[in-house]
């Protein structure tokens, strides 16, 4: 039994413990961490990033390490490791902050570079690396970023729901994950959405996949809150939502796909049919 436990311990990817900075991150390549490290959790994240913390908290933020590193050339960088409840939540906050014209680089699940700073999604972590000076050696910074990612997580897959969105008419870099209250409806949680433009009309396609029991409840509550009379929960329904306009919802066995923001959603119903097909692949 002890042998098995030790085996598990040494073969698992290194996990950042909630309250201790891991030894393996103390020195990364040529970079040595400074002794003064800052740790924030749900109670005091506000102290570090003020009101922006509400976004992170809505994505089940768990904790943050902020650590400065120096290199042998006396360059300095700051590493921020935001840990979230799961990869979906980390994805959610990462794309919240990702610009439309993101300069993507192949690190982790996805990364982009902005003003010399790295913004990296990897597993349940959202990692940010800031050079103290813009003249920091770019190759060294990138190598540091790659090593940090390899030490934190070996997950490089996006949430599977993203593969359900049809390509036709989709606008790139508009994927979003709303952890809570999609459509402004309490309990409508864990929804992926993407923006589309077909003809002159922009709108959104959204997808939620959960166990049938939870999804039944979400859809039924939405219909009830919008005073929508339905014959059956599953299948296609168009809700006249007084706040959101007409919303087309398809539902079957835990899979919810909808169209939001189109004045005549039945005209683009084919996108839902396509998404259903993709979900079965």
């Amino acid at each position: 039994m002890l042998y098995k436990l030790l085996l598990v311990f040494f073969t698992l990817p290194f996990i950042v413990n909630g309250q201790s900075f891991p030894d393996k991150l103390l020195k990364v390549n040529d970079w040595q961490s400074k002794s003064d490290k800052s740790y924030y959790d749900e109670q005091n994240l506000y102290d570090y990033i003020n009101g922006a913390s509400d976004f992170y908290l809505s994505y089940s933020f768990k904790d943050l390490w902020v650590v400065d590193y120096t290199s042998s050339d006396n360059e300095v960088l700051t590493l921020e490791i935001y840990r979230h409840k799961n990869p979906y939540c980390a994805f959610g906050i990462y794309v919240e902050e990702r610009p439309l014209d993101a300069n993507k680089i192949p690190i982790g699940t996805e990364s982009h570079l902005s003003d010399g700073a790295y913004y990296i999604l990897t597993g349940s972590y959202y990692v940010k690396i800031f050079p103290r000076e813009k003249t920091n050696d770019a190759a060294k910074m990138e190598a540091f970023a790659k090593m940090i990612v390899s030490l934190l997580s070996n997950t490089t897959q996006f949430p599977i729901e993203l593969s359900y969105f049809p390509k036709e008419g989709s606008i790139s870099e508009t994927e979003r994950y709303t952890a809570e209250n999609y459509l402004g409806q309490e309990g409508f949680n864990g929804v992926f959405a993407k923006s589309y433009r077909i003809g002159n009309q922009a709108f959104k396609l959204f997808i939620l996949k959960q166990d049938s029991l939870s999804a039944d409840k979400i859809v039924a509550n939405y219909f009830k809150n919008t005073n929508y009379s339905f014959k059956q929960l599953s299948g296609f329904n168009i809700v006249k939502d007084k706040y959101n306009g007409p919303v087309m919802i398809y539902y079957s066995k835990g899979l919810v796909i909808g169209i939001l923001g189109h004045p005549k959603p039945n005209k683009v119903q084919n996108l839902i049919s396509e998404a259903i097909k993709l979900s079965k692949l």
Binding site: S38, Q43, Y46, D47, Y48, I49, N50, G51, A52, D54, F55, S58, E96, E97, R98, P99, R176, T178, E180, N181, Y182, L183, G184, Q185, E186, N225, Y243, N244, G245
Partner: protein, 400 residues
């Protein structure tokens, strides 16, 4: 925002009063001079010397990824929207700009906030990199995102030290922003060391508005309340944030807060012009709309606030450890009981009755430079004595 009602035994009947000695009078008139009902449903207050009249509930747009929420807020009568340069890496300002561009400019009041460069997160002090130029560059970006030439209120974001409030480069930046027509009014947002920040703002004399974290759960709420009163008298407009106190009474998140009651608790302080809760659902928006017109606690809200205040240490547990510590031998535990009656249960008459029976003067601590009483609950004894003994001079016909 609303939990489903916390079940507590209803052992004390609460009257409908404010919780501050400073507002004992005003809370018993339908509306004091600080509040007015412009329409049947909405209470308006004036934002200090700005002269802006705002509904008491505004909107923090920071979680408003759903533009329809903002539009619904506009329809309900919410006028004031708050955002910041850093929210969602700029997308929040962009979203707000998209929604508001279709509205008449005079129909809304918009605030944004800019974090100064080179701020030490621990001390809150600004370094040499905190220049007016860098600040104004960020403001320009914010204005572009908002599709505006001018915001109504520009805050220096997240300030926690006197040094930052009085920093010459920040004062220069705000003055220039006004001169250049980029903002009508200037202020500071703070959620740490609020009393120190407010005092410095009063001293500086150039600020118009203070956006302050303020809720029933703060350990220093009494000092903060008093400082807010002082700031309001000095002409500062007060906007409250973080009124929901995190949504839970405990770290484990097993005891939800009645957030509507918590919001009312803050707004019953008439020095607060408005608050900026962040809404993520239409239900929350509709519930807050009800607060816009009526600040009286419902029976359930009274019970929930009683429970919340008890949990957060409003109530003295009568341990008696304080007895004998006061240099004037004041009956501290009895005075604390009077405090509970007055501010915890809103039974000011009962509090006065108790204080009168103790033969206390209005300010029994006068003459003492420091308080020698150490409370096991860490209550600020001297402040509480001062607050509650004011009731002694309030005529009985004004008390419930």
């Amino acid at each position: 925002m609303t939990n489903k009602g916390i079940q507590r035994r209803d052992f004390i009947k609460l009257s409908v009063t404010g919780l501050s000695a400073a507002t004992l009078f005003s809370s018993f008139t339908a509306f004091s001079s600080k509040s007015e009902k412009k329409s049947k449903n909405i209470i308006y207050r004036t934002l200090g010397k700005t002269g802006l009249k705002l509904p008491i509930v505004s909107m923090g747009a920071m979680r408003g990824e759903n533009k329809n929420l903002i539009e619904a807020g506009l329809k309900l009568g919410i006028i004031h929207y708050d955002t910041a340069h850093v929210y969602q890496n700029g997308k929040n300002e962009e979203m707000l700009g998209e929604v508001l561009k279709n509205q008449k400019r005079k129909s809304y009041i918009i605030a944004t906030k800019v974090v100064p460069e080179d701020m030490d997160r621990k001390s809150g002090e600004l370094g040499s990199g905190a220049t007016a130029e860098a600040f104004l560059n960020k403001l320009d970006i914010s204005l572009q995102r908002l599709q505006l030439k001018q915001v109504d209120i520009l805050y220096i974001h997240s300030i926690s030290s006197r040094q930052a409030v009085l920093h010459p480069e920040m004062i220069k930046a705000l003055k220039l922003a006004k001169e250049q027509g980029k903002t009508r009014f200037v202020g500071i947002s703070t959620h740490q060391n609020e009393p120190e920040v407010l005092e410095a703002m009063i001293e500086a004399g150039i600020y118009d508005v203070a956006l302050v974290a303020y809720n029933f759960k703060q350990d220093h709420r009494e000092l903060l309340k008093a400082t807010i009163d002082k700031a309001a008298k000095a002409g500062l407009g007060i906007v409250a944030m973080k009124t929901m106190a995190g949504g839970f009474l405990d770290k484990e998140k097993t005891k939800p807060i009645n957030t509507i009651a918590a919001l009312k608790w803050v707004l019953q302080d008439e020095n607060v012009c408005t608050s900026i809760p962040g809404f993520t659902s239409f239900n929350q928006l509709e519930e807050s709309f009800s607060v816009m017109g009526d600040l009286a606690f419902s029976e359930q809200e009274k019970r929930d606030m009683e429970f919340a205040l008890q949990t957060t240490g409003m109530y003295c547990n009568q341990c008696g450890q304080c007895l004998g510590q006061c240099s004037k031998n004041l009956p501290i535990n009895d005075i604390m009981r009077a405090y509970m009656y007055t501010y915890g249960y809103s039974e000011a008459s009962k509090g006065k009755e108790l204080l009168t029976s103790l033969n206390l003067k209005t300010d029994p601590c006068s003459g003492c430079d420091t308080c020698t009483v150490s409370c096991t609950n860490n209550f600020a004894i001297a402040n509480r004595i001062k607050d509650v003994t004011r009731v002694i001079n309030v005529p009985n016909e004004f008390l419930v």
